[in-house]
């Protein structure tokens, strides 16, 4: 067994270099469907993070107990249970948000990002690393969802974090940024094509930043040793 990855590299991979949404393009369904506003994106991201951290932790804990031939059904069971829990808790404590995101919360079950991390990482690593990986991947996804949501909301309505109080309570009203009532807006941003265009722009931006960074430190030292080859499961 190769040396286990350091926390640093786990976090770096999850948030940036192997961002599941921008690099692996996993979990496109919630990404495209729920990012009509920054608040929705944030809510969806937090729900996904909760599920992925819990499922990673559990999968890692039981990894020696579960025989290889039944691991996929076990992962599905674990993930489905956690998603249902998150859905119930959301209904009980964030009801307004649930009304907006309800349908997509159950769809977290089929988010291949989560089963992908369970299979590729959690089932092969200690529980602490699996938890860190879950949180990092979840945070990476949350950042993408929130940014894309903010982008689409801003272009379409001229606001950012409109109705953030639904998710974060009254105090969050101050988060809302608005261009004012007379902003006409570009409708396409909030329609499904806008999600694809926005995502494309974000991927392009990430790639060009990577390229720039690579160019800056091109000569001095060789690129850091390739991390343990992560078996990215094919998107389902």
């Amino acid at each position: 067994m190769s040396a286990p990855p350091s926390y640093r590299s786990i976090v770096g991979e999850g948030i940036w270099s192997n961002n599941q949404m921008l690099v692996a393009l996993l979990g496109l369904c919630p990404l495209l469907a729920t990012t009509t506003s920054a608040t929705n994106g944030l809510g969806m991201g937090l729900a996904t993070t909760a599920v992925i951290a819990c499922s990673n932790g559990t999968v890692s804990l039981v990894r020696n107990l579960v025989r290889p031939e039944i691991r996929i059904p076990v992962f599905v069971l674990v993930i489905a249970s956690f998603v249902t829990l998150v859905e119930l808790i959301m209904q009980a404590y964030f009801y307004e948000m649930y009304l907006v995101l309800g349908l997509f919360i159950s769809l977290i079950v089929v988010n291949c990002m989560i089963i992908g991390r369970a299979e590729a990482f959690a089932s092969k690593n200690r529980v602490d690393r699996a938890l860190v990986d879950g949180l990092a991947v979840g945070l990476g996804a949350t950042l993408v969802l929130t940014t894309l949501g903010a982008l689409r909301e801003f272009v379409a309505q001229g606001t950012i974090f409109y109705q953030a109080d639904l998710l974060l309570g009254e105090a969050a009203k101050g988060l809302t940024i608005s261009l004012g009532e007379d902003y006409q807006g570009a409708l396409i941003a909030i329609l499904p094509p806008g999600a694809f265009i926005g995502l494309g722009l974000m991927i392009a931006l990430k790639n060009s930043i990577d390229k720039l960074v690579k160019g800056l430190k091109a000569a001095p030292k060789p690129a850091p040793a390739a991390p343990a080859p992560s078996v990215e499961t094919a998107a389902t």
Binding site: L88, Y95, A156, L187
Partner: protein, 215 residues
Amino acid sequence: MKTKSILLAGFVLGAFAVTGVTLVALTHKAVDGRIADNQYQAMKRKLDTILPAQRIDNDPLQDSVQVSARDYLGAETTQVYRARKGEDPVAVVLEPVVPDGYAGPIKLLVSVMHDGTIGGVRVISHHETPGLGDKIEETKSAWVLEFNGKSLHNPPLEKWGVKRDGGEFDQFTGATITPRSIVNAVKNALIYVDQEGEALFKAKPAAPAQAQERT
């Protein structure tokens, strides 16, 4: 040997299923009341905006009947909530479904006063195009307030349509189908209340709305 490993795998899988279901069941039990309460409060807030609170002394959510009038209300069965002051009927609130929205059914909440005028119309759920058809939401545009105080005689029945069809009600730039179907559904709801008259208030109340699953 082989049988043993299959049995073991089955047992492990079964254990996970039982644990998962137990966790979900326990959580459900713990938050069930809170969820029902949330649904009740959300519904009550909506009703409060279209009913004259100071003229009512019952809880319309606890005083509902189920009716079946597909032709007028769009769904096989719908709830009718009755608002009263003492024994006197004040208003009914219907939940018509607009079957012919631009992108699927639209659920409405329509309150009709005892004198036949509309207390208010609200959209509960819809799938209309954001930015065009979604101006039917009260948070996005004041359009839906146009219905306040209207009745079957004001405007007259033949004027119950959008302006493009020669009626009284505004349509939106770029979206005529949505307002047209809503105007039609509200008209049908009014006709239904007019036909049923007092009977709507006399029917025995069904089980409290609280206990019912709302989707």
